[in-house]
C-alpha cells in the first residue's frame, strides 16, 4: 500500500508522462533504425584507434615488453596503471545494478543497462593489460589451474593469482547479470522484428521469453540473488586489486587502507565515466525523458561523496606515514608531493579531491556542460592516481643507489590510446544493436505499472 501512495508525492523517475508503448518506441527504435551520422563518425574514429591497439599488441608481442618504458626500478609502468584504471571504471555498472537495486533506488533503471555494458567493456580492456604484460602471451594459461605437461599448478598464495580469479569472476558474473537483464528486452525487440533473420537471431538470444508471470517470479528472484552476489563481489574485486600492491613491502604500497580506498576510487571513476557517456548518449539519442537531470544530479552526488572519500584517504595516508615514524614510509609520501613526480601528484589531488567539490551547489550539480567537464577531469585524475601509486612508489624505494626515473615510450601511449578504441567501439556497437535502457524495468517504475494506480482512478 505504501507503494501506491508514494508514487503521487515523489518526483517522477521518468518524465514526459509516456505510455508503455511510447517507452518501447523511444528505446527500441534506436536498435532498429539506421544510426545517426554522428554514430558513423564516432565508430570510424574508434575503430581506427582499435586497429592501432591491435598493431601495438602485435608489435609488443613480437618484440617483447622491452618496447615499454618499464625498467628497473619501475617494473610496473603504464600497463599496470592502465589495468587498474580500467578495472576501476568497470565498477560503476555493477554498483548501479546491484547495490542500488538492493537499496531500492529505483532511479537506477534508466541508466543501469548502459552502465553495465560499460562495465563489461571496461573489464575487457582491463583484462587485456595483464595478459600482454606477462610478456609471453602464449603461456597466459599458466595463470589458470589447467593440468599441464609440467605437472605444475598456479601459486595460490600470490595476490596476482587472486587477481586473476577476482577479475575473471567479476567479468563472468557481470556478463551474466547483464544478459539476464537483457532477456525481456531482447524479447521486445524480437516481437517487433520484421525480417526473418532478425527474428531468428533475437529469438535465440531471448530464449523464448513470453513475459509469463511464472517466469517473472523466478526471474525476479534470480535477479535479486545476482544483485546480492554481485554486491560483495564488486567490493571484493578492487580490494583484491589493491592486494597486488598492499601485500608487498614497498613503501607507499604496504598499507591497510588500500582496499576501501581503492573501492571508493573505483566507484568514483566509474561514475564519472557513466556521466561522460550518458551526457552524450541522452542528447544524441533524444532520451532526456528517461535519463533526466535528476538522474545526473544523483550521480554527481555519488561522485562528490566518493571523491571526498578518496581525498580523505590521500590525507590519511600522509597522517599514517607520519604517525608510523618509519623513515622510508615518510619519505615515500614527501617524495610524492614534492619529488620529481610532484606534478602528477598535484594533478591527482586537484582533479579528484578539489574539482568534485563544486557539486556541493545544486545549481552546479545540474549544469550539464560543467558535469561533463568534471567527469573528464575525474577520469584524468583517477588515471594519475594509479600512476602516482604505481610509479612514484617504485621509482625511489629503500636504496638510493637503485633510484631511477620512469618515462613511458610511444608504445605505452599508443597502447593506452588504443584501449579507448576497444572500449568505445564495443560501446558504440552496444548502442546500435541492444536496447540501451532497461525497458522492462523502466516500464515497471512508471505510475501506470502499479495495479493500484487504477483503483484510485475509478474511485
Amino acid at each position: 500500500m505504501g507503494h501506491s501512495t508514494s508514487h503521487s508525492t515523489e518526483t517522477p523517475l521518468v518524465t514526459g508522462n509516456l505510455s508503455f508503448h511510447e517507452l518501447t518506441e523511444l528505446v527500441a527504435r534506436h536498435a532498429e533504425k539506421k544510426p545517426p551520422m554522428g554514430w558513423y563518425v564516432a565508430i570510424g574514429i574508434s575503430s581506427l584507434l582499435l586497429l592501432n591497439l591491435l598493431v601495438m599488441i602485435a608489435y609488443q608481442v613480437w618484440n617483447g615488453v622491452g618496447v615499454w618504458g618499464n625498467n628497473v626500478p619501475v617494473g610496473w609502468g603504464w600497463p599496470i596503471v592502465d589495468f587498474v584504471f580500467w578495472v576501476g571504471i568497470g565498477h560503476a555498472g555493477t554498483l548501479i545494478s546491484a547495490i542500488l537495486f538492493l537499496f531500492r533506488q529505483r532511479w537506477r533503471t534508466s541508466i543501469n543497462r548502459a552502465a553495465e555494458a560499460m562495465t563489461i567493456f571496461a573489464v575487457i580492456c582491463a583484462l587485456l593489460f595483464p595478459t600482454i604484460h606477462v610478456g609471453r602471451i602464449w603461456v597466459i594459461y599458466w595463470t589458470l589451474p589447467i593440468p599441464n605437461q609440467m605437472d605444475m599448478w598456479p601459486q595460490f598464495k600470490s595476490p596476482l593469482l587472486w587477481d586473476v580469479f577476482a577479475v575473471s569472476s567479476y567479468f563472468i558474473v557481470s556478463l551474466l547479470f547483464w544478459y539476464v537483464g537483457l532477456i525481456p528486452d531482447l524479447a521486445t525487440l524480437r516481437d517487433r522484428a520484421r525480417s526473418f533473420i532478425r527474428q531468428r537471431v533475437l529469438g535465440i538470444f531471448s530464449m523464448g521469453w513470453t513475459g509469463s508471470n511464472r517466469h517473472w517470479r523466478n526471474y525476479e528472484k534470480a535477479y535479486l540473488l545476482l544483485a546480492g552476489l554481485a554486491t560483495p563481489l564488486v567490493l571484493s574485486v578492487h580490494s583484491v586489486v589493491s592486494f597486488d600492491f598492499a601485500v608487498s613491502i614497498v613503501p607507499g604500497w604496504h598499507t591497510t587502507i588500500f582496499p576501501p580506498y581503492f573501492v571508493a576510487g573505483a566507484i568514483f571513476s566509474g561514475f564519472a565515466m557513466v556521466v561522460t557517456l550518458m551526457v552524450i548518449a541522452r542528447k544524441v539519442y533524444g532520451i532526456e525523458d528517461l535519463i533526466t537531470l535528476n538522474h545526473l544530479e544523483k550521480m554527481n552526488i555519488i561522485i562528490l561523496l566518493t571523491g571526498s572519500m578518496v581525498g580523505f584517504a590521500y590525507i590519511t595516508e600522509f597522517f599514517i606515514a607520519w604517525y608510523s615514524q618509519v623513515g622510508y614510509e615518510q619519505y615515500a609520501f614527501i617524495n610524492r608531493a614534492t619529488g620529481p613526480y610532484a606534478w602528477a601528484y598535484w594533478i591527482m589531488m586537484s582533479c579528484n579531491l578539489i574539482a568534485p567539490q563544486v557539486f556541493w551547489f545544486k545549481r552546479l550539480r545540474r549544469n550539464v556542460p560543467l558535469m561533463f567537464a568534471i567527469s573528464i577531469l575525474v577520469n584524468i585524475g583517477m588515471w594519475f592516481e594509479r600512476f602516482v601509486i604505481t610509479v612514484i612508489s617504485l621509482h625511489r624505494d629503500y636504496l638510493p643507489s637503485s633510484w631511477g626515473y620512469f618515462t613511458p615510450t610511444w608504445v605505452d601511449v599508443m597502447t593506452f590510446a588504443g584501449s579507448f578504441g576497444l572500449f568505445l567501439t564495443l560501446f558504440l556497437l552496444f548502442l546500435r544493436f541492444a536496447p540501451m535502457v532497461a525497458l522492462s524495468e523502466v516500464k515497471g517504475v512508471v505510475p501506470q505499472a502499479d495495479p493500484h494506480f487504477y483503483d484510485q482512478e475509478s474511485s
Partner: protein, 194 residues
C-alpha cells in the same frame, strides 16, 4: 511418473494439450489483469498464466504461487564453488605438487580466502542463472502462444491471461465466457492448425 512430469512442466508454464492449446484474452491494464488472475484462480483454474511486459506487483499472490525455488539452486552453486576452491587450493598446494615458498605452509586457510570467496560467488551466480532457466523451462523458442499475432504485444504494452486446455476445469464455452466477464477482450483460441 508421467503425471509428475506434466506437473513440473505446468509449473514452468508448459502445458501439454493438443490440438487445442487454450484461450488467450487481453486485458486493459495491470490492475484489470491482477483482478482477472485472482478471479480465474478462485474459479478453480490452475493451468493458467498471465503475460505482461514487466512483472506486476502482487501477481504471485493473486495467482497463488509460492516462493521461487531459485534460492536453492544458488545455495547449491555457492557450496559447490566453495568446496571446489578449498579442494583445488589444498590439493594442488599440499598434495599434487608441494612447493616450499619462503617457508610458508603448503596449505593454509588465510591466503586461500580470496579465491574461496570468488569461486563461491561465481558458482552461486551460475546456480542462480541456471536455476532460473531450468525452473522456467527456458530456452523454449517455440511456444504455442506465438501462434497469436496479437501476442507479440505482450512484450510491449499489452496484458494477457492464458488458460490452458489441459486444465481440468477447462471448457471452451464456459472459459470463454469467464474471460469475457472479467473484462478480457480479443479472446482467441490457440490451436496448432497452422
Amino acid at each position: 511418473m508421467k503425471k509428475l512430469l506434466a506437473q513440473i512442466k505446468a509449473s514452468m508454464g508448459i502445458y501439454e494439450s493438443e490440438p487445442v492449446y487454450g484461450l488467450l484474452a487481453e486485458f486493459a491494464d495491470p490492475g484489470a489483469l491482477l483482478h482477472a488472475a485472482s478471479q480465474v484462480r478462485e474459479a478453480g483454474y490452475r493451468h493458467f498464466d498471465v503475460h505482461s511486459p514487466f512483472p506486476v506487483h502482487g501477481m504471485d499472490k493473486a495467482m497463488g504461487l509460492g516462493n521461487s525455488l531459485v534460492g536453492f539452486f544458488t545455495l547449491g552453486g555457492g557450496i559447490t564453488g566453495f568446496a571446489l576452491a578449498y579442494w583445488l587450493q589444498w590439493w594442488t598446494g599440499a598434495v599434487a605438487y608441494p612447493l616450499n615458498i619462503s617457508g610458508k605452509p603448503f596449505f593454509a586457510i588465510e591466503p586461500s580466502i580470496p579465491i574461496m570467496f570468488e569461486l563461491t560467488v561465481l558458482f552461486a551466480a551460475f546456480g542462480a542463472v541456471a536455476g532460473m532457466f531450468a525452473l522456467n523451462g527456458l530456452p523454449r523458442p517455440h511456444s504455442p502462444l506465438f501462434y497469436s499475432r496479437n501476442f507479440t504485444r505482450a512484450t510491449d504494452d499489452a496484458f494477457f491471461l492464458h488458460i490452458a486446455a489441459s486444465d481440468k476445469c477447462f471448457d471452451l464455452e464456459e472459459t470463454r465466457q469467464l474471460l469475457a466477464d472479467l473484462g478480457g477482450y480479443h479472446v482467441e483460441l490457440l490451436a496448432a492448425q497452422e
